[in-house]
Assembly symmetry: C2
Homo-oligomer: 377 residues x 2
């Protein structure tokens, strides 16, 4: 029997990606059915989503009214009735459900970066064993996926594009004075607060390099980053014959979300904007300024070293962004803070999930303790 | 039995594309074997090629020394031992062998534009019936082919890029004074004389629109042309979800040639240059200036009208370029001359090959007769 309606669980449904995912799903009621929703803090919005989509499973600290079964994130991610698991939960909370979905052989539409950054080897090994497919929702990795589609020969290089964020071209001294408000004003993408700050520091691009390494089994030496302020080309793939393929679109996350849900099909969706070549007169490129944006280098180094270093990078990065957003450290202190945590850390090799989560927690704790004003934990 | 070496015939082996094809073939002696060569005028170079590649079949008005069998273009294109037929013969002489190869179910690496322009419906119908595949060698159509590879949903728009040629930005009055020598100095591609002049008038891009229509069964309304002076993006394909894919490379015809020969594989070839993103700071785009370059519009109109109009376009265009190169008409007279022939023509609908070739010959004759100094035929 061909089942035409795919049953989805959406973890992190009240965040930026989660809301856009539900927007896409609502456009195709004959193709997608929401059977599970999970949210963190925003119980009000979750209640509205539950009323609109009528999921059979819900996960939230404050459960909204409705006729459903309460499940944990992991139970929902591995539920036998789920065809596609959208993982849009932020930060370390994505790790558990991503691993559960990978072990359960699901199609995973993965918007959470930290799970692959922290435990790329464990998750991709589990997915390979179970037959799970991890389809990236990040625009850069979705672009690479699209460029690889149908290619029979292995790619030889990825070029991840980066907008450069709001502070492109700033000197380190000018960067030292930027405020959280300035950092939250991203020039091209609408995203959550954490990833917006990570975009401003280029930490986000470093995390994406690690993700690309695991998603596509590409050596770090063959992953480059290129600043492309217009955010039209979402990434490029170079092949053995020197041909390069690129995927382009307006910067709108609904496109990679829809692609991950509908893959291998492409669905017509009038809500998605088309590129207008009458207005697009040029696309610009420049190398990233690693002196002004050291987080990119730090991240790639942590990825290369492997073990629990990427978990420390992730935990320290999250804590440092929190300190910056609450005015306790400056913008340029973010990199220094993360670098400090990485230096102090002693990594395990071939770490277990427990060791990875412990390293991540240690790094967060460490950063919050070192910060001016002491720990809030 | 898997046969690893593909047996090739190369028609038009002494022209620009033919020579570059043999260059690619020579790099992969374990994959490609030349069994046939055909050339028009350059018997000296053909003799060298025959000595180097030792083909079993040769076609030329002046046959060089060697131990081979002389065949016609059509016999070679349809020869049972040929796995791939490279059609790089210029102008109308490509029509016969392309049709023969299409009827014989060959893989055709097609560099000749005029065959599809003149007889697109007949050739594509023959190919469909026989199971022949027509893999384009033109960089634009190769780019589209590469972007479509693996896609399960129909594309909704092609955007063919054009360098704009050496006279991009010229006003019509400035264009009136340009010389053949100026027109032959193409800014990005090394090509034969006819196609170089056609690039300068944008006639070439119009012919490519017609080709794209037939190769990919795309409506004319959904094929756009975009000027892109750097010739790095070779074309773009827009899909139903708004995603756009592009193929990029240095402007070097050896890449699309190699792709057409090795498809679906991509072969590592150190002779092919890689894009250097340290140097590529921007890619520019602008709409084509149809007032200054009316040949583009003329060609698309002839394609839309169909019948024998594209054959007249092709024949009149060839004759007009000849008149320009021999100093008998000015650059801006090319379009006026072609327009005149199209206006005088009465098209057959659903024309036969005989009607098509008659229309093409009529148009050439007509243009040469009308020219200052009278006909040379």
């Amino acid at each position: 029997m061909v089942r035409s309606v795919k049953r989805l669980v959406v973890l992190g449904s009240t965040g930026s990606i989660g809301r856009q995912t539900l927007e896409v799903i609502a456009s195709f009621p004959d193709r997608f059915q929401v059977i599970g929703l999970a949210a963190g803090e925003n119980a009000t919005l979750l209640a509205k989503q539950v009323a609109q989509f009528g999921p059979r499973f819900v996960c939230c600290r404050k459960l909204p009214p409705g006729d459903y079964q309460a499940l944990s994130l992991e139970e929902m991610a591995a539920h036998p009735e789920a065809d596609i698991v959208v993982i849009a939960t932020p930060g370390r909370s994505g790790l558990g459900p991503t691993l559960a979905a990978a072990e359960a052989g699901k199609r995973i539409a993965l918007a959470n970066k930290e799970s692959l950054v922290m435990a790329g080897e464990i998750i991709t090994t589990a997915a390979e064993k179970s037959g799970a497919s991890i389809i990236p929702v990040d625009s850069e990795h979705s672009a690479i996926w699209q460029c690889l589609e149908g290619e029979r020969s292995a790619p030889q290089r990825f070029i991840l594009t980066a907008s450069g964020g709001p502070f492109r071209g700033y000197t380190p001294s000018r960067l030292a004075g930027v405020t959280p408000q300035q950092a939250l004003a991203h020039p091209s993408w609408r995203m959550g607060r954490k990833v917006t700050i990570d975009s401003a520091t280029l930490m986000n691009k470093g995390l994406e390099v690690i993700e690309a390494h695991w998603l596509f089994n590409m050596a770090y030496d063959n992953i480059s980053v290129l600043i492309h302020p217009q955010s039209i080309i979402h990434s490029l793939v170079e092949f053995a014959d020197g041909a390069v393929k690129a995927q382009l679109s307006h910067p709108d996350m609904r496109l990679p979300i829809q692609y991950a849900l509908a893959y291998p099909e492409r669905l017509a969706n009038a809500a998605l904007p088309l590129l207008n070549w009458d207005e697009l007169t040029h696309l610009d490129f420049e190398p990233p300024d690693l002196a002004a944006f050291p987080c990119l280098k730090l991240a790639v180094q942590a990825g290369r070293k492997g073990g629990t270093y990427p978990a420390v990078l992730s935990g320290a990065g999250e804590a440092a962004v929190e300190l910056f957003l609450t005015g306790r450290i400056g913008f340029t202190d973010i990199a220094a803070t993360v670098a400090g945590a990485l230096e102090e850390h002693e990594s395990s090799s071939q770490p277990t999930i427990a060791e990875i989560t412990a390293a991540e927690a240690w790094a967060r704790q460490q950063v919050l303790q070192m910060a001016p004003g002491g720990s809030r934990c």
